[in-house]
């Protein structure tokens, strides 16, 4: 049985909503039930954003999760806010370029990804830390197949952002490689 509850959090500009959407679309392509639910409202004025993606082979009830199994934190405020909520035994993916604090919970698997640094190193600092993180996640935990994610990227970049496809593909690769080759 497949059932993933994934929380993704960061600053407004970091593309966390987009990352979530790509995951949800990929899940949908694979025939799963999916849902995507953003934080919304004046919170965003504070400069933070988060969303919850659920990928499951059962009909989805609640679309938020008080105990996500996977949590991606792209910045420090999100790290502090959401680390305590992760399910015991869950996966915490941390953008260590922006999060200096260390996770003190011992019941979590922590996957550190210095996404901004990787972007600088390999992609001229392009703003694709979210897709790097996605690559890293999929390398570590195949919530969806990499191919589905790539198809989902096409779908989600349709229209004005089409030209960003190649860049994002590269970013996915960078994240994937970072984890696959061992960080």
């Amino acid at each position: 049985m497949k059932h993933h509850e994934i929380l993704i959090a960061g600053f407004g500009g970091q593309g966390v909503l987009f990352l979530g959407r790509v995951l949800a679309v990929a899940g949908m392509f694979e025939g799963y039930e999916v849902s995507w639910y953003p934080s919304y409202g004046p919170e965003m004025r504070g400069g933070t954003a988060n969303c919850t993606v659920i990928i499951s082979d059962e009909e989805i009830g609640a679309t938020i999760s008080d105990r996500p199994g996977i949590c991606i934190v792209m910045n420090e405020p999100s790290f502090f806010r959401f680390t305590p909520t992760v399910q015991s035994g869950g996966l915490l993916l941390v953008n260590t370029s922006l999060v200096r604090a260390k996770c003190e919970r011992e019941d979590l698997e922590v996957l550190p990804v210095p996404a901004n640094d990787l972007a600088k190193l390999y992609l001229d600092g392009a703003e694709v830390t979210n897709t790097i993180i996605l690559g890293a996640l999929l390398a570590r935990c195949p919530v969806v197949q990499r191919e589905s994610a790539e198809r989902a990227l096409v779908e989600c970049l349709r229209g004005k952002r089409e030209k960003l496809y190649t860049l994002n593909l590269k970013a996915l690769e960078v994240g994937w490689e970072f984890v696959a080759k061992g960080a």
Partner: protein, 354 residues
Amino acid sequence: MEKILMRGNEAVAEAAVRAGCRLYFGYPITPQNEISEYLSFRLPQVGGVFLQAESEVAAIHMVYGAAATGARVMTSSSGPGVSLMQEGLSCLAAAELPCVVVNMSRGGPGVGNIQPAQSDYFQAVKGGGHGDYRLIVLAPSTVQELVDLTYRAFYLADKYRNPVEILGDGMLGQMMEPVTFREPEFPPLPPKDWAIRGKGSGPRKWVVCLDLDPKGLEALNLKLQRKYRLLEEQETDYDTFGDPEPEILLVGFGTVGRILKSVVREGKKEGLKLALFRPITLFPFPKAALFEKAKGVKGILVVEMNLGQMLEDVELVVRGKVPVFFLGHTGGVIPTVSEILEYVHGLLKEEIRV
């Protein structure tokens, strides 16, 4: 048919366009802004009209005007904005004008907040405006159902010449789920020969919402009541799920309905015999079906994102024959599966005393 991942607010907007809605009047309010944002580019594409009104009061009366011409028209808002539409809704109901109003409900009362809530049930179902009128109220629980009920809303509005409210909430409006747009087949509708379009060569017509003669106004009201009774006979809808012989019947609508589905499923794993009764039409309320379903259960647990509103309609059906319990959250707090399960366990442990 192709599935698209779509936000609830955008899905309802697209469904409206496909249902033939050609005019939208509305005023921004979170958490339903994507409806107007979507329609602001989508309606002009099909030769329709998107107009941002100066207020919800103006919006609902623009709807009144457009509806009077026989066009399919809609507005959308949330709590405070819908409150401002109450006089207008009463007028639309009195003039028997078809239209669709979407309420992506949020935490109240007052300005409250913008998180999901269901505390506008009374307003929607009992009639927040003055007078003996009713709206047809539909409560979708998934984005797909939001789409399907939007088609149905326009159909019912025209069939019964009555305003229809789609009562969603912030969660339904903001979330994305895969949807397909299967256009439903509805029986043909009578021509809108009452519509005001300029008299042309025919006799002149008018649409009003007043009758200064008590006898006349009472007659209108009795006509409306007959319509409401007909609705109850012909259009109630609900969903059931779970154990065919449940110990506890869970009752919830909209977003809570889907959460309760998870509760039923999780409960089964824990050996609980649960079933869900989810009204899809809140008005007309599926009384007969709930009455049947309630037979033989040990207890009924109503769960709402308010402090007990649909509860009253459930109690009116059950009439003390089965104990009815209530679990509610409000103000944007969303009940969780585990908390509901715990409550159910508690009920069963106490062997349910009336």
